[in-house]
């Protein structure tokens, strides 16, 4: 009898394995193209390359909408996004190939958009008029990486990095945090953040004040678009791949093929371009 029980238990365990595994099995979304940069432009500066990958997220179901509306009513006036931090666990894997015969350096910067705002640090001037001011930081990365001549280097933005980037983006956009503050503080485990009055870099000695209620973690917006900026010093290519663990089951089964095969089943997001001069918390 014991043998029978062990056999049945083993069998049930094995049957359960795929079912249990499905919830956390990753899916892989390849980059839309290979980024090639580092070729000197007219000014002799190495070129940059950038690419965006919109995550193929299914349209919101009626049940999800009802639950979201109920939470929004409870947290009012705070808006509750459809895709929240924790719904998707994302990492971005990349490989750089140095096509040059001399060693070089490359930087890979992660930016992106949630359903409310997109973030492009190259258009944000935090200290207008100061030519020596450091550039506005990206959400993650932007660290020099040595790439040997003709060599290959791989790396990744981990799930923690991307979660931190998601929260930083929400803090910068809905919370009006200075991007340096958001970038230099660890928020991946934050339970809430306090929105501030809008940044006014042109106003001297301006102090931000708290504005409205704190936004709780259950209303943190997650990245729905991944933007990669590639900045090599010599001629190089970068390929990247987005790995998603779909915790809530909101990714479309066809992934990017759904864009052409079933576009009506994909949620459309129209984030506003964030800028310190023009953005206000919704």
């Amino acid at each position: 009898m014991r043998v029978v029980l062990v056999s049945v238990s083993s069998l049930l365990g094995l049957v359960g394995l795929p079912l249990a595994g499905c919830a956390n099995d990753p899916v892989y979304i390849p980059a839309p193209m290979t980024l090639e940069a580092g070729i000197a432009d007219m000014m002799g500066q190495p070129s940059e390359a950038r690419a965006s990958l919109q995550l193929p997220i299914k349209t919101e179901t009626a049940a999800d909408k009802t639950a979201r509306d109920a939470l929004a009513a409870k947290l009012a006036p705070i808006l509750v996004p459809y895709v929240k931090v924790g719904d998707l666990e994302i990492d971005v894997e990349w490989t750089i190939k140095n096509l040059d015969m001399k060693p070089g350096q490359a930087k890979v910067e992660l930016n992106g958009a949630n359903e409310y705002f997109s973030y492009d640090p190259s258009i944000i001037m935090l200290d207008p008029g100061n030519d020596e001011a450091p550039p506005t930081p990206g959400l993650s990365g932007d660290i020099p990486i040595d790439v040997p001549a003709g060599g290959e280097v791989s790396g990744l933005f981990t799930e923690d990095n991307v979660r931190e980037a998601s929260i930083d983006l929400d803090e910068i956009t809905r919370g009006n945090f200075n991007p340096f503050r958001a970038n230099l503080t660890i928020s991946k485990n934050a339970k809430e953040f306090q929105p501030m009055t809008a940044l006014m870099p042109a106003v001297e000695n301006y102090m931000q004040e708290p504005l409205g209620p704190a936004i709780p973690r259950e209303a943190f917006a997650a990245l729905t678009r991944i933007d990669i900026v590639f900045k090599p010093s010599t001629h190089m290519t970068l390929q990247f791949n987005v790995r998603v663990r779909d915790i809530r089951g909101i990714m479309h089964d066809l992934l990017l093929a759904a864009v052409t095969d079933k576009p009506g089943e994909l949620q459309t997001f129209m984030p506003a371009e964030f800028n310190v001069a023009g953005a206000a918390p919704p």
Partner: protein
């Protein structure tokens, strides 16, 4: 003395000297319902062999011996593999689950038996990481599975237990006709 003579006479009448000298089968094997569990490895054959490494596998099978030489069964198997597609991604793993029915033909030579088997079922792959090399299509997770193989068994002294070594080749047509070899050591209990 009289009793001994009577017993001897009775035995002689029942079987004669031949019966007294017959040796019992050294390793009798039970037949009937059985359960089998095995551990082994799955290796992909070209051209998928360049896209996934050999990985550990677990198999369980239950079935019934219809005759001493013929049995039918259902099996479930799971294996885990590191994808070796061109990076990125790098160092990522996926799981392959297989389930189906099979038929096994067996020939026994005392304590050793040899068998051939074949069957069909379905396979499930846990992720789309092999989509990068076009082994899976977008949204594709299932394939029909065909399997065939052979093995040898060793009957233990206990008539219920058998240890064996088997190798099956399987084919997954929907996954770009992926082919692989599943090799396993197993223990079977026959009720």
């Amino acid at each position: 003395m009289l009793r001994f003579a009577a017993v001897s006479a009775t035995l002689a009448m029942l079987g004669g000297p031949g019966a007294l000298c017959r040796v019992a089968s050294a390793r009798p094997a039970a037949t009937g319902w059985f359960a089998e569990g095995g551990l082994g490895a799955v290796a992909f054959l070209p051209k998928a062999s360049s896209d996934a490494k050999l990985g550990p596998a677990l198999d369980v099978r239950i079935g019934r011996d219809l005759f001493a030489w013929l049995s039918v069964g259902v099996s479930l198997a799971a294996s885990s593999h590191e994808a070796t597609v061109p990076p990125p991604p790098e160092g990522e793993w996926f799981q392959l689950y297989r389930g189906g029915g099979d038929v096994r033909l067996r020939g026994r030579f005392d304590r050793i038996a040899a068998f051939v088997e074949g069957g069909a079922g379905i396979a499930l792959i846990s992720s789309n990481v092999l989509g990068r090399v076009m082994i899976t299509d977008p949204g594709e997770h299932f394939s029909i599975a065909f399997a065939a193989g052979a093995g040898i068994e060793y009957q233990l002294e206990n008539r219920h237990y058998t240890a064996g070594l088997a190798a099956d080749g399987f084919l997954l047509p929907q996954f770009a006709t992926l082919r692989a070899i599943d090799t396993r050591l197993y223990l079977r209990y026959t009720y």
